[in-house]
């Protein structure tokens, strides 16, 4: 068993990024993710890396675009309003097939919203966030350990599929402290023959670009990208199941909502209610298989979210609306309590799937 250190979620992301070989970080201050920037500001100069506080989130994501073009691992982090600003760059990264790691430590919205935890950027993250047809791989950690592990995995997936991975955390995950084991295996980075590092006068020039004025060509680029996406949907979906063997009620929840839900499930089980949890770890690709599988026993799903009901759409799509899916939520920086979730479970048990 490896040695564990006590860390904040945000710090775990920063340390894991360094572990993964990321030596370039660009960011702009915004609560509640500033610890990532602060950590990088301290560490990067000591290991020959770059920490740069950009003039805006827009500039930061374009600096990421620049480093990624040269084939190196690079990241930025922000919180909800800042991710909206970065969304232009996220679309360009997708259009140019560039890998990057982007962290969103979500806060309540819309607009300036608040600074307390939220999951209301689910649509923004899983539907691509900027203009055009594209996806990002979206990872949703539910512990400080996962903040670290999914950061390393995020870089690997980004490189493997030449696209952005987003860590979709929330204020709770970012701020809470837990013991973390940092002996995480890092796979070697793949070759990047497409990178712009200078021709050395020994090869034709490489071009990083998202402009394709010929509609035929642009359509082809989109088709090819979606073939890659199909492979990701097939191979990379991650999830955790908890007490699902005999579950008649299934909670769907990610991040902090999943932790709260586990407490509620433990209480409900004491009352004899057969309830379990599916916790998507990849929000895109959404893990459809466990939901389909759950239909063997499950009569009702409850989507527990810190939003007005966003993931619930993917839960419904995963099961083609064959059984009821209800919402148990708080928003605006509020977090559902275990009691609230327990009430939702009891209510579902009473209805027995008849909504």
């Amino acid at each position: 068993m490896s040695e564990k250190v006590l860390m904040k979620g945000n710090e775990a992301i920063a340390e894991a990024a360094i572990l993964a070989g990321c030596r370039h970080y660009f960011g702009y201050p915004i609560t509640p993710q500033t610890e990532i920037a602060a950590y990088m500001a301290k560490k990067m100069p000591k290991i020959g890396g770059t920490f740069l506080q950009a003039e805006s989130e827009i500039a930061a994501i374009n600096m990421v675009y620049g480093v990624s073009s040269t084939g190196k691992r690079v990241m930025t982090s922000s919180s909800s309003p800042g991710i909206s600003l970065k969304s232009e760059g996220l679309s360009y990264l997708a259009g140019a097939d560039l890998p990057a790691l982007v962290v969103n430590v979500q806060r309540g919205g819309p607009g300036l919203g608040g600074i307390q935890p939220s999951q209301s950027d689910y649509f923004q993250a899983t539907r691509g966030s900027g203009h055009g047809d594209y996806h990002m791989i979206v990872l949703a950690p539910a512990s400080v350990q996962e903040m670290a592990e999914l950061t390393v995995k995020g870089f690997e997936l980004a490189d493997k599929y030449r696209m952005t991975t987003m860590i979709l955390a929330d204020g709770t995950m970012g701020q809470m402290m837990e013991p973390v084991a940092l002996d995480i295996e890092v796979k070697p980075m793949p070759e990047k023959p497409w990178a712009v590092t200078g021709t050395k006068m020994s090869r034709p020039h490489n071009i990083i670009n998202s402009l394709f004025l010929s509609p035929d060509k642009l359509e082809q680029m989109n088709f090819e990208r979606y073939e890659r996406y199909a492979a990701i949907e097939k191979n990379e979906a991650l999830y955790e199941e908890y007490m699902m063997e005999d579950a008649e009620i299934c909670i769907a929840a990610f991040g902090i909502a999943a932790r709260v839900s586990k407490n509620a499930i433990n209480e409900a089980r004491k009352e004899g209610i057969k309830v379990g949890l599916i916790r998507p770890i990849t929000l895109w690709p959404f893990p459809k298989a466990p939901f389909e599988n759950a239909l063997k026993t499950v009569k009702e799903f409850i989507s527990v979210e810190l939003s007005m009901g966003q993931m619930i759409e993917d839960v419904r799509l995963s099961i083609d609306c064959r059984v009821p899916v209800t919402l148990c939520n708080r928003v605006g920086g509020m977090i559902p309590s275990p009691e609230q979730v327990l009430d939702a479970i009891r209510n579902a048990a009473k209805n027995g799937g008849n909504r």
């Binding site: 370039h24 660009f26 770059t50 740069l52 950009a54 003039e55 805006s56 827009i58 500039a59 930061a60 374009n62 600096m63 990421v64 675009y65 620049g66 480093v67 990624s68 073009s69 040269t70 190196k72 690079v74 232009e88 760059g89 360009y92 140019a96 712009v196 590092t197 200078g198 021709t199 050395k200 006068m201 020994s202 020039h205 490489n206 071009i207 990083i208 670009n209 998202s210 402009l211």
Partner: protein, 251 residues
């Protein structure tokens, strides 16, 4: 005996620029400088959004196409990725550099980012068909200022070199033009210096090139070159606006 040839750094492809447009001249000057300094193999160019959006096809060095106005931020990333081995230039128009990308421009200059910026000022948005630019002159008729630029409604043109010269950061700022043989020679000297500065690690160097846009100005190529002399230079005087190293030498 070959007396005139295409620079190696300039790709042997047809360009899409309009007849009489001076982009071709400036592209050639940049390519000549890259050749003369022997830096093609380590140079990474960044094209903007605007008429020179497809400049990535016209230079033989590695190229990146950036989002509108973001070239200095992208250049910052490329440069910081490997400061010793990357020579980085951006090639941007007035809408790109002085309107949508003003923040990126000012902050790259303030950081004295060790990059070279070629700034084409033709006082109009060319690619989108001739709209008012941040550098369009007072009274100038464009598609979006059909009665002439009314400064009481849409403000005054921005003098980029003068503005940036107020910053402590940048190393070198010069405004040139390319509307005569003499001017072209002078422009090349400035562009070469802007690249040399980077090679020598001196920092942010920007060359503003007053350029013509006969198509959107509604002038013949010849009259457009004259328009630079008569209208543009009086508002945008040519010259060196900042040269930190030269200043230090004279002290």
């Amino acid at each position: 005996m070959v007396v005139f040839d295409k620079p190696h750094a300039l790709a042997d492809v047809p360009m899409h620029y309009c007849p009489g447009c001076t982009h071709g001249i400036v592209h050639r000057l940049v390519a000549e400088v890259i050749d003369e300094l022997g830096i093609e193999g380590k140079t990474i160019g960044i094209a903007p959004v605007g008429c020179s959006v497809m400049a990535y096809d016209y230079f033989n060095c590695d190229m990146i196409e950036a989002a509108h106005g973001r070239a200095p931020a992208v250049a910052t990333g490329v440069k910081r990725s490997d400061p010793e081995n990357h020579i980085v230039f951006t090639y941007q128009g007035d809408g790109d550099l002085a309107s949508i990308g003003m923040a990126e421009t000012v902050h790259a200059a303030a950081r004295n980012e060790n990059i070279t910026v070629i700034f084409i000022n033709n006082a109009i948005y060319g690619m989108t068909g001739g709209q008012m630019a941040p550098t369009s002159l007072p009274g100038q008729v464009t598609q979006t200022s059909p009665y002439g630029r009314d400064v009481s409604l849409c403000g005054y043109p921005i003098r980029v070199c003068e503005m940036l010269s107020q910053l402590e950061g940048p190393e070198y700022l010069e405004r040139v033009t390319v509307n005569s043989v003499k001017a072209v020679k002078n422009a090349k000297k400035a562009i070469k210096k802007a690249f040399m500065n980077q090679v020598e690690g001196k920092g942010f160097s920007l060359v503003e090139v007053l350029s013509s846009c006969p198509t959107n100005w509604g002038l013949t190529p010849q009259k457009a070159l004259k328009w630079i002399d008569e209208k543009m230079i009086p508002y945008y005087p040519l010259g060196v606006y900042k040269d930190r190293s030269a200043k230090e030498e004279t002290k």
